[in-house]
């Protein structure tokens, strides 16, 4: 995998995810439910790249997601994306890599694990034997509902975005996935 291409795509997708959210997002309280382009990009990489490259990509994307959220905690999304990398590598041998619907299905499946893992890691901060303290005015049910709507939107958006990424795949030099590799 070409890491320079990855870096350019990450930059563009991150800026677009943040900047275009008021345009394409559905108002939800003071924020917007919008597609997570970073999740789509990650699943696109995870469907084809070598396992170690998928893990590094998960770490980079997860850290960026952590830093763009205004909660001061770094780590939940990075670890959740690593879990997502594991899930994606288990699932990718079962799907047709070239299909946009496969990408959508993978995005939904991986997204469920990522969102649940983030919520879990933030919930355990409130456990009494840990040095951490619960985040002020953060509620898990509200976050799960928001995450669910965001995941639905992301899954729908993954079809056109995935097709676009497929068109540009020659830039990536991703290694084709083969069973038993």
């Amino acid at each position: 995998m070409r890491w320079l291409t990855f870096a350019i795509f990450v930059y563009v997708m991150l800026a677009a995810e943040i900047g275009l959210r008021p345009l394409v997002g559905v108002p939800y309280g003071a924020s917007f439910v919008g597609p997570s382009l970073m999740l789509i990009l990650f699943v696109h990489v995870a469907m084809s790249a070598p396992p170690l490259a998928v893990a590094w990509a998960a770490l980079v994307i997860g850290l960026l997601v952590d830093l763009t959220h205004q909660a001061p905690i770094v780590g939940p999304a990075a670890l959740a994306y690593l879990l997502g990398a594991y899930v994606a590598m288990q699932l990718r041998v079962m799907v047709f890599r070239d299909s946009a619907l496969s990408l959508a299905a993978m995005t939904f499946a991986v997204g469920v694990f990522v969102h649940l893992a983030v919520v879990f890691l933030l919930v355990i901060r409130g456990l009494p034997f840990l040095p951490s303290d619960p985040l002020p005015d953060w509620d898990a049910p509200g976050q799960l509902v928001f995450g669910f709507f965001e995941l639905l939107y992301t899954t729908a958006a993954s079809i056109p975005v995935g097709m676009l990424l497929r068109k540009l795949e020659s830039m990536w030099a991703l290694v084709p996935n083969t069973i038993g590799r």
């Binding site: 930059y11 563009v12 991150l14 800026a15 677009a16 943040i18 900047g19 275009l20 959210r21 008021p22 345009l23 394409v24 108002p27 939800y28 309280g29 003071a30 924020s31 917007f32 170690l52 893990a55 590094w56 770490l59 850290l63 960026l64 952590d66 830093l67 763009t68 959220h69 205004q70 909660a71 001061p72 905690i73 770094v74 780590g75 939940p76 990075a78 670890l79 690593l82 890691l121 355990i124 901060r125 840990l130 040095p131 951490s132 303290d133 985040l135 002020p136 005015d137 953060w138 509620d139 509200g142 976050q143 928001f146």
Partner: protein, 280 residues
């Protein structure tokens, strides 16, 4: 031959361990760890995301703008435009009156109004915080008041070199004390102060008032909270939208629903009140 001590898998495992520790750090420690990389990221991504944010708000503004002249094709559309412009003039006159009223009770001689643009809109509804393109280099410091026109918008929670995080007033834990004032010029404010809190997932506020209160729909809620800096007092928190019976004290108390004049999460331009000495 021995395998190398430091390979990618081991480095990855080490990073995972560090991230697990970072996840359970106390909030203060976690903030210290994340502040520098967050500001760096905002510095790198901010110019492009800010551009796209402005574009997004231009295409899909938070409040309805008058229709563009180029889209008008006939006289009927032109009349719509004229009516909407007249409506806009009325809105601006009202905003001007509100600002004059704020000016009467508030002295801003020691402050500069620093315009700022939103570069990263709110992402997490349970933590309504956004990023603006002004930071310590421009005189912005933690705790400063942020407004949008005549409306109170929030406070700076974290000031980086060229960007800052602003927490909106509709955060879940926010309690604001307001004074309700009829919108007519020269009308006297009601005697009692009212505490409002967030409602409807951040879209509105609610307050409990006595049943015999004379508060009316359309009254403006001006900040009168001692916990806020003096320069913030007088700015508008919202407008009374509905007055209903309080579900817990029917007949004894009423619930006042107050809605911000503009959707807080959908504002692209704000103003930071910066002390004169601090502004660059």
């Amino acid at each position: 031959m021995k395998p190398p001590r430091l390979n990618q898998r081991r480095v990855l495992a080490g990073i995972v361990l560090l991230l697990l520790i970072a996840c359970v750090l106390p909030t203060r420690g976690a903030r210290a760890v994340s502040t520098v990389p967050r500001h760096l990221l905002e510095l790198v991504v901010g110019p492009v995301s800010g551009l796209l944010t402005r574009l997004s708000f231009d295409i899909r503004p938070g409040h309805k703008p008058p229709p563009e002249a180029r889209t008008l094709e006939d006289y009927a559309n032109m009349r719509v435009l004229v009516e909407s412009l007249q409506q806009r003039i009325l809105q601006l006159e009202q905003e001007n009156r509100n600002l004059r009223r704020i000016r009467e009770v508030q002295e801003f001689d020691g402050f500069t109004f620093l315009p700022a643009r939103v570069t990263m809109p709110v992402r997490d509804p349970s933590n309504p915080t956004l990023t603006i393109d002004r930071g310590q280099r421009h005189g912005v410091r933690q705790g400063q008041v942020v407004t949008a026109g005549d409306s109170l918008f929030g406070r700076v929670t974290d000031a980086g070199t060229v960007t800052s995080a602003v927490r909106l007033i509709n955060a879940p834990d926010t309690r604001l004390v307001v004074r309700l004032v009829p919108p007519e010029p020269g009308a006297a404010a009601y005697d009692k102060l009212v505490q409002v809190q967030q409602a409807d997932n951040g879209k509105a506020f609610w307050a409990k008032v006595e049943a015999d209160t004379t508060i009316r729909v359309g009254d403006l809620a001006h900040l009168a909270d001692d916990a806020w800096p003096t320069e913030a007092r007088g700015f508008i928190v919202g407008r009374v939208q509905r007055i209903i019976d309080h579900p817990d004290w029917p007949g004894l108390a009423r619930r006042v629903i107050i809605k911000p004049l503009r959707p807080l999460g959908r504002t692209s331009n704000v103003i930071v009140l910066v002390p004169v000495g601090a502004a660059s």
